[in-house]
């Protein structure tokens, strides 16, 4: 796996930054995001609402912790899982022939399509590199046995 700590730090800043932005842009207007979730037609109004209250904060905190290095493995794991979920979600949505806004970045949202899958795949690749790399320099909190 990647060992270069500077490259890994840049990956952390990029992926963490994307998630911080994704979270912040949605926290201010949960109803719009709830509608975006509902538009995917997978969950009902109650679950859409709860997702809109909860998920933006998860994105923000996971992104923030990845950047500053608090439980970096947990945040990399969570972000990778979310990205994988988003990719599958957009694929299913395209197969179902639904034309929806992705709901990714609040008012800066755009259509859920192939370009979005490509973008999410890129973030996923960076995030997986972080998850499986043993190096975790520049971290606020890290395990002492980090080379294990």
């Amino acid at each position: 796996m990647l060992q270069n700590k500077n490259v890994l730090l840049i990956f952390r800043l990029i992926v963490g930054g994307v998630f911080i932005w994704a979270g912040v842009s949605k926290i201010a207007d949960p109803l719009s995001f709830a509608q975006d979730v509902r538009n995917y037609q997978l969950v009902g109004p109650a679950l859409s609402f709860l997702t809109a209250i909860f998920l933006p904060w998860v994105e923000l905190i996971a992104g923030l912790w990845l950047v500053v290095g608090i439980y970096p493995k947990s945040s990399a794991l969570l972000i990778s899982s979310l990205l994988l979920f988003f990719i599958v979600l957009v694929l299913i949505t395209m197969i179902r022939g639904l034309d929806v806004d992705c709901g990714c970045f609040g008012t800066f949202s755009r259509q859920a399509d192939w370009r979005l899958i490509a973008e999410d795949s890129l973030w996923l690749a960076l995030s997986l590199a972080l998850l499986f790399s043993p190096a975790n320099d520049f971290c606020l909190l890290r395990k002492k046995s980090s080379k294990a």
């Binding site: 998860v58 996971a62 439980y71 947990s74 034309d99 499986f132 790399s133």
Partner: protein, 167 residues
């Protein structure tokens, strides 16, 4: 470092638990007003605040049928053109939301003056009528009604339909 090892590490789960826990707390305390309204039963039809969209009202089949029979409302079909051409509520005008979103604002010119504008889509879980209503409200249209049963409920009840290839 393999996935197995990461998942076996207790610290990974402590971190995940903390992220979820903190997110839950922040989520709950950041929008107490909305959560209260949600618990009181709001946002079942749509995630819009009545005060933000005062022109949008949800109606049921009998209301839609009455308005249609009395010809006091214009019906807007928000589904795509193909679906509209296969069949629609007689007299309905096609304003596909997806065409509007891709920049065809000229479609709005099709909507005539009427005491009420009733918007529908496929029915069931479809969201196009609601999203079109939000769009129309932002463009200054008034007296918007969403017939949430939509095309499915209309046809299931054996009400008249129209099929033509004209838009």
């Amino acid at each position: 470092m393999g996935l197995k090892k990461i998942l076996a590490d207790k610290e990974t789960w402590v971190g995940l638990g903390l992220i979820f826990g903190i997110s839950l707390v922040f989520g709950l305390v950041s929008h107490p007003g909305l959560i209260k309204r949600f618990l009181a039963g709001e946002f079942q039809h749509a995630f819009i605040l009545k005060e933000d969209f005062p022109q949008v009202v949800f109606i049921s089949l009998p209301e839609a049928e009455a308005a249609w029979a009395e010809q006091k409302a214009v019906f807007i079909d928000s589904r795509n053109l193909e679906e509209y051409q296969r069949g629609h509520i007689p007299g309905a005008i096609s304003v596909p939301l997806e065409d509007l979103k891709s920049g065809r604002e000229d479609l709005l010119l099709r909507i005539p003056d009427a005491p009420e504008i009733i918007i529908y889509c496929e029915g069931g879980d479809c969201q196009a009528s609601l999203n079109l209503a939000r769009w129309l409200e932002s463009r200054g249209f008034k007296n918007l009604r969403i017939f949430s049963g939509g095309w499915a409920e209309w046809t299931q009840n054996g009400l008249p339909v129209e099929t033509n290839v004209a838009e």
